[in-house]
């Protein structure tokens, strides 16, 4: 029963024009970045910034809009003998798998062709994790309000916060508190932003972390080690699980 709902949603989304456009967009960006840069690590850096900007935006907004548009579908399913949590999990897996597939086809193929093994796999894992995080955040903002405009608005704000405002605040704090030894605290603060976590992971792989200065060294000390990598990885997973579980709890209790 579970697989049927999931399969149905997956096929419905894969046929969606926006997902196809997203795949094409990613593949144009990735192919052109790698053909412009002759050294692959430079290409990875450029790609990193593009992917960390577009993937979260498209994932969170597409998820939110899709959820609001499937209100009818959810209503229809609710009058059938199906557990509520199965409907929600089906929607989550359907959205996550199709967007992850779009990422793998769009960006994954050129990455595998142009980038060497270890860095390529980290790039792909981070891309998929970021997809999952922002699909989960989309679920959260769609369940928090009944109003479609407010829901999409809060999604855009979340994206703006994590991709632009957060870094601004961090920079501001760095300058204001530059007299104090706050480097270690920075590691903690970066955990509060999934995009930063993914960025640090990939930059550390590229051996360009020297560009990050003293803070970079601290990051390298922390995230470069085995346990640090594990902690960073689990933090990203928490960024997926927590918003999703909160939205699931709210959906199970929601009046429709």
């Amino acid at each position: 029963m579970f697989n049927k709902i999931q399969k149905f949603i997956l096929f419905d989304i894969l046929r969606n024009r926006i997902v196809i456009a997203y795949t094409v967009l990613l593949s144009i960006l990735t192919w052109s970045v790698f053909s412009l840069e002759d050294e692959s690590y430079k290409g990875v850096l450029t790609l990193l910034n593009i992917v960390l900007l577009t993937t979260p935006l498209i994932c969170i907004i597409f998820t939110t809009i899709y959820l609001y548009n499937s209100a009818e579908f959810i209503e229809l399913m609710l009058s059938q003998p199906i557990r509520r949590s199965k409907i929600w999990t089906g929607l989550f897996l359907g959205l996550f798998l199709s967007l992850a597939l779009a990422f793998l086809i769009g960006a994954g193929i050129p990455i595998l062709l142009f980038v060497s093994g270890k860095i390529a796999s980290i790039l792909l894992i981070m891309g998929i994790l970021i997809t999952a995080v922002f699909v989960a955040l989309g679920f959260l903002s769609a369940i928090l309000t009944r109003d479609k405009a407010k829901g999409i608005g809060s999604s855009i704000l979340l994206w703006l916060f994590f991709s632009l405002l957060f870094d601004g605040i961090v920079l501001f704090l760095l300058f204001q508190l530059s007299d104090y030894p706050i480097e270690k605290i920075m590691v903690g603060i970066s955990a509060l932003n999934p995009i930063d976590l993914a960025r640090i992971f990939i930059i550390l792989q590229l051996d360009v972390s020297a560009m990050l200065g003293y803070t970079g060294a601290i990051f390298k000390d922390f995230f470069g080690t085995g346990p640090g990598t594990m902690i960073g990885f689990s933090l990203l997973c928490i960024w997926v699980i927590l918003p999703y579980l909160i939205s699931l709890r709210m959906f199970v209790k929601k009046d429709l």
Partner: protein, 237 residues
């Protein structure tokens, strides 16, 4: 079959249902009537588990429905305004529901044929008129031979011929011993269907009694007259 005890529901500060107690047996055909906004649809949605009650319990076949979902195998529901995924065709919707329910369950295609939905199976739900959407809803409600049918304004929007087909189907299913729960404003339409009447007012049940008794008490011949009599004279206990 359905037992409701001390059911209350609040939406924020608004009290929609106040301490509802109700027992329904198989073979009954119950009309749920009352003014707009008196909580009829909320009560129905509570039974279906779409709205979670603030307090009180609902039992379906001696089992509490809270956190349960399997009991919906035995309920057919036709909403007031059927809402379906826009870009699916009628055939796809029916196929999807059949898929989810599992093919094992016995099916009753009588209404699909009677409404001649077979000829328009590949029409998208978005392009259907309100009446045709209602026909799809009705067919789905009866499709799996449920033991209880919950119909929210079933004939609203249907043309007279379709309404008649649906009415006959309701009577036939009721005779097989199924519980039927109808809300409607068209009292004259309910007259030859229902065996019990529930009048709801301001979120509470004003009375629940057999139609025959109601007519006898008010000394009227039709449901319409009986109800208007009560609303005017306010004297039935």
């Amino acid at each position: 079959m359905i037992e409701i005890q001390h059911l209350s529901k609040q939406f924020g500060k608004l009290q929609v249902l106040k301490d509802i107690n109700l027992t329904c047996e198989p073979g009954q055909c119950i009309a749920l009537i009352g003014p707009n906004g008196c909580g009829k649809t909320t009560l129905i949605k509570c039974i279906l588990g779409m709205v979670i009650p603030s307090s009180g319990s609902i039992m379906f076949r001696q089992k509490n429905i809270a956190r349960d979902f399997a009991y919906r195998h035995h309920i057919g529901y036709m909403p007031q305004k059927g809402r379906f995924p826009d870009n699916m065709t009628i055939g796809q919707v029916i196929e999807m529901i059949k898929n989810i329910r599992g093919k094992k369950e016995e099916q009753d295609d009588e209404l699909i044929e009677a409404f001649s939905l077979n000829e328009i199976m590949d029409k998208k739900m978005r392009t259907l008129s309100g009446g045709t959407t209602q026909k799809v809803s009705a067919s789905l409600a009866f499709l799996f031979k449920p033991e209880a049918l919950i119909l929210d304004e079933p004939t609203a929007g249907l043309d007279p011929i379709a309404a008649e087909i649906l009415k006959e189907k309701i009577i036939a299913e009721n005779k097989k011993g199924k519980l039927i729960f109808i809300t409607s404003h068209m009292l004259s339409e309910l007259d030859d269907l229902v065996t019990q009447v529930i009048l709801m007012q301001d979120g509470g049940i004003r009375f629940h009694m057999p139609t025959a008794l109601l007519k006898e008490q008010t000394k009227t011949l039709s449901l319409t007259k009986a109800i208007t009599h009560i609303l005017k004279h306010d004297h039935v206990q």
